[in-house]
């Protein structure tokens, strides 16, 4: 079965995030005074075959440990959803009814 993993990679606590700081400054200048903090990370969508959700999660977490995140400075979090062929048409990365990566054939 085809699954979609959403991977978020963020800098560990305590590690300075210059990109986040720059965005805070820019948002402030644009008038968003309510913003308290911005942290910038990476986001990946991975479409993969797996038996079940736990199986998919285990594989993706392994990919994160080996390649997708650098454990010295980064944390990661993985969400697994079934690929929804219908939603794949939508294009926007919704929160539910997740499009399968981008629905693009390879």
């Amino acid at each position: 079965m085809l699954w979609k993993a959403r991977v978020r990679v963020t800098l560990k606590n305590g590690i300075l995030d210059p990109q986040g700081k720059v965005l805070e400054g820019s948002l402030d200048r644009l008038g968003y005074k309510e913003v308290r903090e911005v942290r910038v990370g990476k986001y990946m969508e991975i479409a993969l075959e797996a038996e079940d959700a736990p199986g998919a999660r285990a594989r993706v977490e392994e990919m994160c440990r080996r390649l997708l995140a650098n454990p010295v400075i980064e944390n990661f979090a993985v969400d697994i959803e079934p690929c929804d062929a219908m939603a794949a048409m939508a294009g926007t990365p919704g929160t539910s009814g997740a499009p399968c990566a981008t629905g693009v054939a390879r």
Binding site: V22, L23, L27, V40, V104
Partner: protein, 760 residues
């Protein structure tokens, strides 16, 4: 077919009628798309072709003039230099990072497609006023896009220019130039020769990105432009790096008959142009083209401008070898068709013909001779008399303001983002001299290699006031920049940026500029070997300044003898070569200090210009000079400031009085002037050279101290200008080097940090 689909594609009704007439039938949708791309201004040069014929394009050194992907000149020793410049203005206005990045990707492909290894990039940039937030966003994005692509692919960006002027606010100019080096024996061309040979598509897969980019470049920007997102592509410098290596390998191996990159109009233009050049035809099968997306129509495949793709024509028995080489670099190389003898460009999808057009007809867009009309503004602007302006009280203040204006200030903020040293050939890095210099490792001896000098120049404001004169000055300035490092001009590549040529005033600007450039090229003996025209640079009816950018390459027999712009040694004499006149029209002094853009641009005496340049070059080659720097924006005072800052040493200047106002004396932008410094013992020899060349020569001061002090000697002709004055001296400028340097060096960074754009 819906109502007049050709209009949506940018074709005129009469052009459509002509297509029907030639074809003897209505074109299919795919055929119409192919026509509209090939007959767009961008690919077809409809409005510019006849004017461009004015350029001189030959010299003993020219191996390839305009007409191929790039021009080539012989630099001796069996080696050649390849060069080309191109615009990516509209994509950069919409998506500055990717727009600029893919501009770099495209110009690189034009070079390695000829078989040359790209060795240098240059960028010529124009934006609106830097205090505008949108301008900052564009400027920041464009510079990081150039850096992102150029650095990643490992080609140094060694020189460029940046101007900030209001007319470029909505329509910035992003012109990029690439230079390559190759053996003359390895020149490859974009020809589809040899009936039966295989046609291969190489590199990235084809997606829906950039469909109709050529058309997009051929219309004015409007509020809908941001919605034309398919016209924006994402660059992949990593894939292109692999493509460079693999293509150079197949060209050297002799396996390819012809090769061409897929630029504007993608598969259509590359196949059609290759067939047309060879007088052959081609048949391709679209189902064989590797695709990134499902369900692409023939129209989309033929017009996609996905980046990092090439077309190669290969003898059938070499196909496997070519495939092998590409596989080693991790790239696709797929046979999609073959060369035919019938002159037809035939496109099939699953065996069914979807387009069939004579290649020649597609490749030869209709040629127009639009109406030209001198704009009314010219006379009004020329009527302005700078002498009516008040003379400033405090020249220190004026100089500080001038050197802090972003167009004059240091461009360090820009070029420090570029890797300008990779490949270890850059002998003169940005900010050190008027032109970049690269050694050619293959020629000369270690430490004394043959050098190539590179520069890009154009002052759009001059062209706005007088396009003929402004364009001629661009050529003269580029050549002068080369003379300052001691190099001899080899050839020009250009990028001619103008508004809508269908408007007579705009077309006049274009015509005048080409005439000005052509005349200057003839006079200075420099051929134009490649270039690019970018029309429709208008946003909401406001056109840019006419901006014919000149990219020039020159040759130095020995990089060890290169001269830089910084003053070097305390006690050296400072000499001005060339004469100063009241050339205030279009100057930075007028614009920055008085807020005026008017007058006539500086006079240009090409005879005098050529003599000054020859004199400087001779002096450099004889090793007489410690420094040389041309007087450009901001005139003599700014040139001296830059030489002081670059060298980290001050200067004492005493100018002979003339009947000119002191502000004119300091800030006039008279052409044909070079500030040199030299040890006193060389003075006689330099003076002899100046006399020999008939060049005005004036000792104006001495290098030393930590201040720039400029005085004017009032009274009779003086005999010892550098010494303590026996005459009445009026001090005009007295500024510490640190203060000058801080203002000049940090200006752009200061603009960029307040109200930072913060894009990520």
């Amino acid at each position: 077919m819906q109502d007049a689909p050709w209009r949506e594609m940018g074709l005129k009704d009469h052009e459509y009628e002509r297509i029907v007439e030639i074809m003897g039938r209505e074109p299919t949708y795919t055929e119409l798309g192919m026509f509209s791309a090939m007959w767009s201004e961008h690919c077809g040069y409809k409005h510019s072709k006849s004017t461009l014929k004015l350029f001189p394009t030959k010299s003993e050194r020219v191996l390839q003039g305009p007409g191929e992907n790039a021009g080539i000149v012989d630099i001796g020793g069996g080696m050649a230099l390849v060069m080309k410049m191109e615009s990516h203005n509209h994509p950069s206005a919409i998506e500055p990072y990717q727009g600029a990045a893919t501009g770099i990707g495209g110009i690189l492909r034009d070079i390695f497609t000829m078989g040359a290894r790209p060795v240098a990039l240059l960028d010529s940039l124009r934006f609106g006023d830097l205090s505008n937030d949108k301008v900052k966003y564009l400027f920041d994005g464009v510079v990081s896009g150039i850096a992102g692509y150029g650095n990643c692919i490992g080609v140094p960006t060694v020189a460029g220019e940046v101007y900030f002027e209001e007319p470029y606010t909505r329509n910035p100019l992003v012109n990029v130039m690439c230079v390559g080096i190759m053996k003359t024996s390895e020149i490859a061309r974009g020809v589809a020769a040899g009936v039966g040979n295989a046609v291969m598509v190489i590199g990235s897969k084809t997606g829906r990105d950039g469909i109709h980019g050529a058309t997009f470049a051929s219309v004015e920007l409007d509020e809908r432009s941001e919605e034309r997102r398919p016209a924006v592509q994402v660059g992949d410098p990593f894939t292109e790096k692999l493509l460079v290596e693999a293509c150079l390998e197949i060209i050297r191996s002799g396996y390819v008959v012809g090769i061409q990159d897929m630029g504007a109009a993608g598969l259509t233009s590359s196949t059609v142009e290759m067939a047309a050049r060879a007088g052959t035809g081609m048949e391709i099968e679209l189902s064989l083209v590797p695709r990134r997306e499902e369900g692409m129509t023939p129209y989309e495949i033929m017009l996609s401008e996905s980046q990092e793709r090439m077309v190669a024509v290969v003898e059938p028995d070499k196909v496997d070898k070519v495939r092998e080489i590409f596989a080693r670099w991790g790239l696709d190389a797929v046979v999609v068709g073959h060369v035919t003898g019938d002159g037809l460009m035939r496109v099939k999808e699953n065996g069914k013909v979807v387009a069939e057009i004579p290649a020649k007809i597609l490749a030869e867009a209709p040629v127009y001779n639009p109406e030209a009309r001198r704009p009314a503004r010219i006379d009004e602007l020329h009527a302005f008399d700078p002498a009516t302006l008040p003379e400033p009280q405090d020249y220190d203040e004026v100089l500080m303001e001038l050197i802090s204006s972003p167009s004059i200030a240091s461009k360090e903020w820009v070029y420090e983002q570029y890797d300008y040293m990779v490949r270890t050939n850059t002998a003169i890095v940005p900010g050190v001299a008027d032109a970049a210099v690269l050694r050619v490792k293959e020629l000369g001896t270690p430490g004394h290699e043959v050098g190539i000098a590179l520069t890009v120049d154009c002052q759009g404001r001059y062209c706005y006031l007088d396009p003929y004169q402004g364009a001629a000055i661009a050529v003269a300035e580029a050549s002068r920049n080369l003379a300052c490092v001691g190099a001899e001009p080899l050839a020009i590549t250009d990028c001619l940026n103008f508004g809508n040529p269908e408007k007579p005033e705009m077309f006049w600007e274009f015509q005048e500029s080409v005439k000005g450039m052509a005349d200057a090229c003839r006079k200075l003996g420099i051929p134009v070997i490649s270039g690019n025209v970018s029309f429709y640079n208008e946003a909401e009816g406001v056109a840019i300044y006419p901006t014919p950018v000149v990219g020039m390459a020159g040759l130095l027999p020995d990089v060890g003898l290169t001269v830089t712009q910084g003053f070097k040694t305390e006690g050296d004499l400072i000499v001005l070569l060339g004469a100063t006149g009241p050339d205030m029209g279009g100057s930075d002094y007028l614009k920055v200090i008085h807020g005026v853009v008017a007058g006539r641009p500086p006079r240009l005496d090409l005879e005098a210009e050529s003599r000054v340049q020859a004199c400087c070059r001779d002096a450099a080659r004889r090793g007489l000079l410690s420094s040389a720097h041309d007087c450009a924006e901001g005139g003599l005072a700014v040139a001296l400031t830059e030489s002081c800052i670059s060298g980290g040493v001050g200067a004492h200047i005493a100018l002979r009085d003339s009947d000119m106002r002191h502000d004119f004396l300091l800030f006039s932008e008279s052409q044909g002037r070079i500030v040199v410094s030299l040890p006193e013992k060389n003075l006689g020899e330099l003076e002899g050279l100046a006399r020999h060349h008939g060049v005005p020569f004036e000792v104006i001061g001495r290098v030393g101290g930590a201040r720039l002090v400029m005085r004017v000697v009032e009274g009779a002709g003086n005999s010892d200008p550098a010494g303590p004055g026996r005459f009445q001296m009026r001090r005009l400028i007295d500024l510490g080097l640190r203060e000058l340097e801080r203002a000049w060096r940090t200006s752009i960074a200061r603009h960029m940090t307040d109200g930072e754009s913060g894009s990520i």
